[in-house]
Each structure stands twice: as structure tokens, then as C-alpha cells.
Amino acid sequence: MRPTNELTLLLPSRSANESIARVCVAGFAAQLDPTLEELGDIKTVVSEAVTNCIVHAYPDTIGEIKIRCRTFANGVLEIVISDRGIGIPDIEKAREPMFTTGGEERSGMGFTIMESFSDSCIVRHRAGGGTVVKLSKRIEPRT
């Protein structure tokens, strides 16, 4: 299925860019006429995925975060967030609730929330290094 619209963002992995990423994606998603709750969910999953890049992919350096968003005619918003960082050694372990290697300032609930607030959350190693998180959420049409 061909997308109806697309947006690509490239951001350095600075924590100040967390809010910029979620606001940009929320602005793009607005064309699907989401409810406030759906918009909050979209901002939350983007914030979690971008924070993972900043904290885990590039712990000691500033790297590039790529965010690609696409909308489809069936109301689906697809968000792909990728990095070229050090990768996640054990993806299944990382998806377990409360598991974190980020110290006490992280809750270990990022993937749990991404899974809860999206219809699909796929995490895979990126060819050539890094991680790709693909999130999909269908915005129900309002009558």
C-alpha cells in the first residue's frame, strides 16, 4: 500500500530533541484527526523510542537519530525510528518490564509503554549496526 504522506526527520541525539521529535510527529499525525488521547499516545511512544536512542544507542557520543513517518489511506500511522549506535545486545531482555541498563534514572518501562500505546511494535538490529524500532497505530475515523 502506498503512503498518503511522509515525513523524515534527522536529529542529533541530544536530550533537548526529545520534545522536538514528539511535537513534530504529533503535528504530522494531526492530519489523521486523532483524539487527544491518541495524540498523547503517539507523543509518548516517540519520546520513549528517541530516549532509548539517546541513552542506550549513543551513551558516550552524539549520533544521528532518523525518524520516518508515513500515513496510509486506511488511517494507519507508521513511525520508524532508527539509529547507528551500539545496538541492543539482547532485544528480548530489553523488552521485559522493569529491565534497564540505564541506572536509577530509567524505569525500564519504555518498551512496555511503546507496546501498550501502539498497535504494533517491532524492534530489530539494523544492518551495519544500530537499532530500528517500527511502530504502527491506526487512527479510528471519527463520525
Binding site: 488521547e37 519520546s47 530509567r106 518501562m109
Partner: protein, 96 residues
């Protein structure tokens, strides 16, 4: 993120306002570190001014609760907005 800490003899109220994400959480944790050793037995974390929260907010609550548990103090989290409540519920924290 604005952090307002009000202390009386028997209570401590921490009011947060703005977006509570990983960027802001560092500042919040720093403010916890700066709290005096002797704290009241009752502490309230007021999230009424929070405009957005992700799982960093969960870490903030757990971190503050851990700090207070050392002295046997209790933590109440109040006025969490609907978006923050969805995050707490997704994490299984239904009693916020």
C-alpha cells in the same frame, strides 16, 4: 520543567510543571539530591502542572519513593493529568 519545593514542619510538597521526559528528569533527580537529610514523614508529589509525561516520570516517582523509604516516610502522588495516568496504568501503577 519547573520544580517548586514547599516544606513545612510536617510535610513536603514537590510541584512539577512542564514536560516530564528524560531531558527534564535529570533536573528533577538533581533537586531530590539537594533535599536535606531530615525530611518530614509526609511527602506529596503534585503533577498538576505536568503537560506531558513518559516513562521518565515513573523513574522519578520510584526514585523519590526509594529516597523516602529510607526514613520511613510516605509518598502521595496527586493531580496526575490524564496522559500521565495512562502512562502509570500501562506500567501497572494503578493506585497513583
Amino acid at each position: 520543567m519547573n520544580i517548586d519545593i514547599q516544606r513545612t514542619d510536617d510535610s513536603l510538597v514537590i510541584k512539577l510543571s512542564g514536560d516530564l521526559d528524560h531531558h527534564a528528569a535529570g533536573k528533577v533527580f538533581e533537586s531530590f539530591t539537594a533535599l536535606p537529610e531530615a525530611l518530614p514523614r509526609r511527602c506529596t508529589l503534585d503533577l498538576g502542572g505536568v503537560t506531558f509525561m513518559d516513562s521518565s516520570g515513573i523513574a522519578v516517582v520510584l526514585g523519590l519513593r526509594r529516597r523516602l523509604s529510607y526514613i520511613g516516610a510516605e509518598l502521595s502522588v496527586v493531580n496526575a493529568p490524564a496522559q500521565a495516568m495512562r502512562v502509570f496504568r500501562a506500567a501497572g501503577m494503578k493506585e497513583i
